[in-house]
Subunit: 323 residues, 2 copies
């Protein structure tokens, strides 16, 4: 398997990503890595990765024009490398907008797909039951037809990645009854109504209860949900830490309860989830968090690895065309 890594574009610079490559390569010596970045950075790891040189970094606010124009940016070079080397996947923590544009324009969409979507998963209150979320930010607005396609891509993702035979797919809305929602959700509901996998509307407060295997949003709302939930989880984790730090007694309490809380922390650490897949394009295109450190970037590389290993793009392509 071949994986192209954009070592630039994240908030924490190339160092963390270079370290992530080392960690990942230690776990997966079989994967051929193409490390795209500044000469001095990528030459330093040429014993474990093919160095590919780039000269600039796309700024976080880069749009489609800038992304296509700067042919020496690490992201552009990475996409070119993917195509040239016929690699199986690509990963970057750079600008989502630019990445989406480059992926759509150069790697191309799977035939039949109207718009790609960013897909990721969250843990739920049920152990080992994850919920697949899409679109969490590839799009600023969507049509009803796009939402209906997201439902189908989410279904396939859940089947392939989480081995669910009959995933339950929901539309996220402001009420669970039929007829509730934005005009867009109401329209998408009517397109999906007859699909056997479609279970109706779900309120956002029920997403983590474990009943839904897949929940569908437009890209703007999904992004607000994803980041809002992350913000809340982070705040609660901080408050928990404070609660344990309060006094000598609470510190002793922590020692007694440590094991359970370490598990909680591990379950809720969104850095472990790592990356989101840009689903609907002709390759495993993984977006890592902009503020990824080495551990979270490595986790995102693992996401890419699993998706390549499960041939998720090929499978979606076959089944999507057959649908």
């Amino acid at each position: 398997m071949k994986l192209v890594v954009d070592t630039l574009g994240g908030d924490n610079g190339a160092t963390e990503i270079i370290e992530a490559i080392k960690l990942f390569k230690g776990e997966h010596p079989d994967v051929e890595i193409f490390a795209v970045g500044m000469k001095e950075d990528v030459d330093a790891i040429q014993d474990i990765a093919h160095p590919v040189y780039a000269k600039s970094i796309l700024p976080m606010e880069a749009g489609v024009l800038e992304a296509m124009r700067d042919k020496e940016s690490s992201m552009y070079v990475a996409v070119e490398t993917l195509l040239k080397e016929n690699a199986d996947g690509i990963i970057s923590s750079g600008s989502t907008g630019a990445y989406l544009s480059l992926a759509t324009l150069k790697i191309k969409k799977i035939p039949g797909v109207i718009r790609p979507a960013l897909i990721t998963s969250f843990p739920t209150i049920i152990d080992n039951q994850n919920v697949v979320l899409l679109d969490v930010g590839a799009n600023n607005e969507n049509t009803k037809e796009e939402l209906a396609q997201f439902a189908k891509m989410g279904l396939l993702y859940s089947q392939i990645v989480f081995h669910k035979e009959n995933p339950h797919v929901y539309l996220v809305s402001n009420g669970s009854e039929k007829g509730k929602g934005s005009p867009l959700v109401k329209e998408a509901y009517s397109l999906l109504e007859k699909e056997p996998f479609f279970f109706g509307n779900m309120e956002a407060r029920d997403i983590l209860k474990g009943e839904a295997d897949v929940v569908v949003f437009d890209g703007f709302t999904g992004n607000v949900y994803l980041k809002g939930s992350e913000g809340m989880a982070k705040m609660m984790s901080g408050l928990m830490k404070d609660a344990f730090k309060r006094s000598i007694f609470s510190k002793i309490g922590y020692l007694f309860a440590k094991k359970g809380f370490d598990e909680l922390k591990s379950k809720m650490d969104y850095k472990k989830v790592g990356g989101a897949l840009l689903v609907g394009v002709n390759s495993v295109v993984v977006k890592a968090h902009g503020n990824s450190d080495r551990q979270s970037f490595k986790a995102a590389m693992n996401v890419a690895y699993n998706l390549m290993d499960k041939r998720v793009v090929q499978q979606i392509k076959e089944r999507f065309l057959g649908a």
Copy 2:
């Protein structure tokens, strides 16, 4: 002060609300209560509240037509009582859609307001710093002009209720840079750009960091944010409980750390926040959670009390017209 209470319409029946009235009246003997509901329920508390009879309950999915047609529903009668008694406020845990319709059509909007919004607040990581959120669900879709008005109503709410002199108001978007967002957010940005209180876009993950005093969403997105965050907070609380229950050691740990965790629980208990105000109409119209128990309904009654006491509607009316 006069407060009208719809004792029906919540998921938990009249009993919890009747008990909430008793608790509230114990704390605020000065407030005149009009308890609207089934004869047997409201007659039972006629020593502390004026009983007003209703004969039916609007179903949760009731829309505007049903709300206006069923003139014997507790919500309709409650609104009529508000008008007839010239009361200062009204509270219900019934259907948001029906409540919004009745409030808009019968209590009427404040002159100049295009659409009312549901406004509430969340705790943040900074102690005693709350963030005001609107619209969290009064509307299924909004225009840029409505978002710009929400920003102004949120500003006033923050000034009046939280005594902020210069509240920082943000639009929630999928990126913090100018130019990010749905078409709607981009348009609202340009309307707000020159306002001194407007601080730009904010990503949902930053809402609880304490920098924003007010954040503005369209009603659909705000509802997903609110309920999504509640869902995450609930899941984390459950996981914390589980972590402490794991073993005899962790249970001992809980005893040591109890005080801090009780504070955390208290801070994060959304039932304590209680109610959301329907801002933009000519009265204090408070929506309590559909699943309110006696404590959370009492908390919502306290929200109504504070808003009536601070004459928030009169102040918004004066300042809104002056703007």
